[in-house]
């Protein structure tokens, strides 16, 4: 999935530029010969090729076979990842003729608008890349403005494909409206012309369906990756617990004995919000109580995923029976006492952990 999305991100601008160039110079064919063809058409095609090579270089920087599979023997991951690369490439190649057709049908104004939007994005993106390159090579001084420009564009880059796809969707919609207006204005054809116009409607519908299909096939996985799969796991909400009159926090054992990670938050004397969690380490009531923070990785917290407890900061698995003991990436233990089916946490023990929270 990640390979699919990254490929789309990297090469989408190339596909869009190619589509627009084909719409701009429809009769020039695939490769214009420099001497005979129109000079602008030749230059435009050169731009597409240069853009492709630049994107390819950028892509190859982050490309490694290890992304496909951790094993060199043919396996499911390797096949799915390679296939996703090909599907992404096929989708982008399919963008070119469909976009070119839509733009040709929509006319010069839309072509110019699309060209402007796409070229603007390409320009911004690559000027950021070049700036970064110059900064890295120490050819430019790293002024705050330059660094923040590079950083901002770096953050915006993932959005660019959405802008492009929105443009594509807009063009599709414009084309749809234009055709409907045309059909309504046209008098009813008779004889052979009726069949011919039906045929052209059929063909245009196929173009529109392809465009829609491409948009869906690109946007849905992107959204899935960006909104769901690619997001860092989040902490489960912490239940705020108040201490009793004596300042002691009491948690009923029966509430936390189900083996899940129960996260609580309380306010320390210093006024900091302190998170801790309680987990039943075994079958009987054998509780591990610890701050939701690690001595090494600070207060990112821990989550329970299926039967493992994982440190969010580094992804290390925590051996559940060892929770409550210090060392490694284990959560910092929190002292507690047991009384009458209650877990008691004294205020001074809680306050001792306040220093682990809220560094950043």
């Amino acid at each position: 999935m990640l390979i699919f999305v990254n490929t789309l991100r990297e090469f989408s601008a190339v596909a869009f530029t190619a589509g627009i160039v084909f719409a701009l110079f429809p009769s020039q064919g695939f490769l214009v010969r420099p001497c005979t063809g129109k000079a602008t058409a030749f230059l435009a095609q050169c731009l597409v090729i240069v853009l492709f090579l630049a994107s390819f270089y950028k892509f190859s920087l982050h490309f490694s076979y290890a992304q496909f599979s951790s094993v060199s023997i043919l396996n499911t991951d390797m096949i799915i990842n390679s296939a996703s690369l090909f599907v992404a490439a096929a989708l982008l190649i399919a963008v070119v003729p469909v976009l070119a057709h839509l733009l040709t049908m929509l006319g010069k104004r839309m072509i110019r608008l699309s060209l402007f939007i796409v070229l603007a994005m390409i320009f911004i993106r690559w000027s950021a890349e070049v700036t970064l390159g110059l900064l890295e090579l120490n050819l430019w001084d790293a002024s705050a403005a330059r660094v923040s420009f590079v950083a901002k564009i770096g953050h915006l880059f993932p959005l660019m494909i959405y802008i492009e796809m929105a443009l594509f969707a807009f063009l599709l919609l414009a084309f749809f409206c234009k055709r409907r207006a045309l059909l309504q204005n046209e008098s009813v054809e008779i004889g052979i012309n009726r069949r011919k116009s039906e045929y052209s409607t059929l063909i245009e519908k196929r173009w529109m369906k392809s465009a829609l299909l491409i948009i869906v096939a690109i946007v849905v996985p992107l959204l899935y990756q960006d909104l769901y799969a690619g997001r860092a796991p989040k902490l489960s909400p912490a239940v705020a617990v108040a201490s009793g009159e004596d300042g002691v926090i009491r948690i009923r054992m029966d509430d936390v004995k189900n083996g899940e990670l129960h996260r609580f938050s309380a306010i320390s004397k210093s006024g900091k919000q302190v998170r801790f969690f309680v987990i039943n380490r075994g079958k009987s009531k054998d509780f591990g109580v610890a701050f939701d923070a690690c001595a090494l990785c600070a207060d990112k917290g821990y989550i329970k995923k299926s039967r493992h407890v994982i440190c969010l900061a580094c992804g290390s698995l925590i051996f559940i029976p060892s929770i409550g003991r210090s060392g490694g990436c284990n959560p910092i233990p929190l002292k507690y006492e047991v009384m009458d089916d209650m877990i008691l946490i004294k205020p001074e023990d809680l306050d001792a952990g306040a220093k682990y929270f809220g560094f950043f």
Partner: protein, 431 residues
């Protein structure tokens, strides 16, 4: 209309169609066999390497250069260096000690079973389930082979570590000697007095110990005269699969920036756990145990190129076969094609017909080949690795794509003939 034409096209000349399907199916069968075997092992290996629970084996350093010739270990140091049982608590004392889910030491001596003197049997001493104190003795930790081999099934009961005569017998051995739970067993080592053991359980689910007798480690130590002697230790650790970062840390530790260093330091990679174990235990060699990777994976790795070349060659051969069949079929129908062209069919109209047919033939051939290959792969898998091949769902699409690709490639080469058919033929009765 297109489907009406396709229907007729497919149903006509069935003998030739069957020939094409058989050609594709044979190629697909081979692909299916290779894909089933390779992908199954690849998947097992990936699962093993990406697992969050890794088995690590600790051996005395001299074991590292064992010299096996014809099944006999010629390493002269063999049997002289042992790990010390007293070092065991150190395993939990490493930085990632909390990630050690369990460990179990081993010491093995060959013994003869009274009444069955002909068969020397390994007597394996280990921990079944016992409490181990920390290095400083402050906290104790429950461990043993029960915790690191959760997939073992025991008929009867686990031996008690405190009862030195309790024993666990491998299923194959128990069946061969007709031993059952509750029976007793007298074993004799090369030198020393015989010992009577009480069978508490029969072990199944592990080939390694299928022919072994397992007892508490003290029993073997006493028999061998090696108090505290430990031959190897199996450790089960909770780890994070190796990543680009861990590789970078291993090869160029200086190249890590502060953030990367922190992340690496705070991540329980197998390599770092193994390294720490090696530091903690004197004279120890520590390595992760990747069972599939080292056995089946190694075999497949060696023949992978061969397999690739084979599928390529078969692809070309089958593609040529299909191309010939399609060309004959086009030649035979050239009159009809000329007529279609004369009444207005473009080349693509005609070509599409053949392409659709090719896809259909490819799919049929692919499905046949897939099923046949699944059967054959079981036989071959059993023959090669004595294990069944789990059919993974991805093989279907792979074989299907391969079959359709053969069919399409063959057809596309055949299609050049369509262009050469002139519609003028239709005008002059040559149909």
């Amino acid at each position: 209309m297109f489907f009406r034409l396709l229907e007729d096209s497919v149903l006509r000349n069935r003998r030739r169609k069957v020939l094409a399907v058989v050609t594709i199916a044979i190629a697909a069968t081979l692909m299916s066999v290779l894909a089933h075997i390779s992908i199954d092992i690849g998947n097992k290996m990936a699962k093993e390497l990406n697992s969050y629970e890794t088995n690590i084996r600790i051996l005395p350093k001299s074991e590292g250069v064992s010299l096996f010739l014809g099944g006999v270990d010629y390493n002269p140091l063999k049997g002289r260096f042992f790990l010390n049982e007293k070092d065991l608590p150190r395993i939990k004392g490493i930085f990632w000690g909390n990630n050690i889910a369990g460990f179990s030491p081993f010491l093995t001596v060959p013994v003869k079973i009274t009444g069955y003197d002909a068969i020397p049997v390994p007597l394996v001493g280990t921990f079944f389930q016992r409490q181990i104190g920390d290095v400083d003795g402050s906290q104790s930790f429950e461990t043993g082979i029960r915790f690191i081999k959760p997939y073992w099934t025991i008929q009867g009961a686990w031996p008690d570590d405190l009862q030195q005569n309790n024993a666990l017998v491998g299923k194959a051995l128990a069946d061969a000697l007709n031993l059952g739970v509750g029976q007793s067993l007298q074993v004799t080592p090369d030198k020393g007095a015989p010992v009577v053991l009480q069978i508490t359980g029969i072990l199944s689910g592990d080939d390694t110990y299928d022919h072994a007798v397992m007892v508490p480690i003290e029993t073997v130590q006493n028999l061998a005269g090696l108090p505290d002697g430990v031959e190897s230790i199996d450790v089960s650790a909770m780890s994070v699969p190796e990543s680009a970062l861990s590789r970078k840390a291993r090869t160029h530790p200086d190249s890590l920036d502060v953030q990367e260093y922190d992340l690496w330091y705070c991540t329980s990679y197998v390599s770092s756990i193994a390294h720490q174990l090696e530091e903690a235990i004197p004279n120890a060699l520590v390595k992760p145990v990747w069972h599939v990777a080292e056995t089946q994976g190694a075999v497949i790795n060696k023949i992978q190129l061969l397999m690739f070349v084979m599928t390529l060659v078969i692809f070309i051969a089958a593609g040529l076969g299909v191309a010939t069949i399609i060309q004959t079929s086009i030649l035979e129908r050239s009159g009809e094609i000329a007529l279609m062209k004369a009444i207005g069919a473009a080349n693509h109209h005609v070509a599409l017909l053949f392409v659709a047919e090719a896809i259909l033939l490819g799919v049929i051939g692919g499905v046949c080949g897939y099923l046949l290959g699944m059967g054959f792969s079981q036989i071959i898998g059993f023959d090669l690795f004595t294990s069944t091949i789990a059919p993974s769902p991805i093989v279907g699409p792979v074989v299907g794509t391969y079959a359709v690709a053969i069919s399409l490639t063959g057809t596309v080469f055949g299609l050049t003939r369509i262009r050469r058919i002139s519609p003028t033929a239709a005008l002059h009765g040559r149909i």
